[in-house]
């Protein structure tokens, strides 16, 4: 039993490290700011989530586990807000995302903000 928990914990930690590495790798590899944000979100969801899950198994039922879970919740509520703020700031600064396809006009309702209908 002890061994199984230990193995699962290390499995989670190794997987989390793998996704963190992949996220960092993508951050360097992607061509522009909007694409980079996507690889950062692999890092702060899968990477952080699996690392914290592994650490929870290491800590067992204790206050440390509870604090780790608070940390995870904090990440899950703040990470999207920060990503959204960054992306919106980039768009408002006039950085145009390089797009293969712009479905803003065709997909759904027309954007009511005329400033928003820019073509890439």
């Amino acid at each position: 039993m002890r061994l199984a928990v230990e193995l699962a914990s290390w499995g989670f930690i190794l997987l989390g490290s793998f996704f963190t590495l992949v996220g960092a790798f993508g951050l360097v590899r992607m061509p522009e700011v909007f694409a980079r944000m996507h690889s950062a979100s692999v890092l702060d969801t899968l990477g952080v989530g699996l690392l914290i899950a592994g650490m929870c198994l290491q800590a067992g039922f204790s206050l440390v586990t509870l604090k780790l879970l608070f940390l995870l919740a904090l990440f899950f509520f703040t990470a999207p807000v920060v990503t959204h703020a960054l992306a919106q700031a980039c768009l408002h600064e006039g950085i145009k995302p390089r797009l293969v396809e712009d479905r803003r006009g065709t997909a759904g309702p027309r954007p009511s903000d005329p400033d928003d209908g820019r073509q890439p």
């Binding site: 996704f19 992949v22 996220g23 790798f25 993508g26 590899r29 992607m30 061509p31 909007f34 694409a35 944000m37 996507h38 690889s39 979100s41 692999v42 969801t45 899968l46 989530g49 206050l63 509870l66 604090k67 608070f70 899950f76 509520f77 990470a79 999207p80 807000v81 990503t83 959204h84 992306a87 919106q88 768009l91 995302p97 390089r98 797009l99 293969v100 396809e101 712009d102 479905r103 803003r104 997909a107 759904g108 309702p109 027309r110 954007p111 009511s112 903000d113 928003d116 890439p120």
Partner: protein
Amino acid sequence: MRYVSLAGLLFAFWLALSGHYTPMLITAGALCSVACVFAAIRMRSADPEGHPIELFWGAITYFPWLFVEIAKSGWSVTKVILHPGLPISPTMTVVRASQKTPAGLATYANSITLTPGTITVEVNGNEFTVHAIVRDGALDVEDGRMDRRVSRFEGAA
């Protein structure tokens, strides 16, 4: 009811983080929780938006579902990053959100951003502008599966 649950939660949070259980400190923690609730009432943040207890039961099933979605799309973005050809096809799209409350809309927008591969770039009323790293991701958001799931979570109140 909302105020009582907020005070209870704050006190539980305080107990979990303090680690000191002398009567004097516990009393201080309880008083602080109540004072915080009064401050929140005065700041008008102890409302259905700031402390949405109605969403609690929905959240129990919603978050595991979201974790599975994150894992699935995280894996597909990982494959894109590690693919030698870096096959990205960035796409922007507009989706309409069907949620009615601010908390529901925020949950949907955050869920889109939280799943790797899609980012909510702009929120305009109930229209979200979404940037996706691959075209299929944009089509998946347009499909509205997550929208319906979040609406169900909101309606489970």
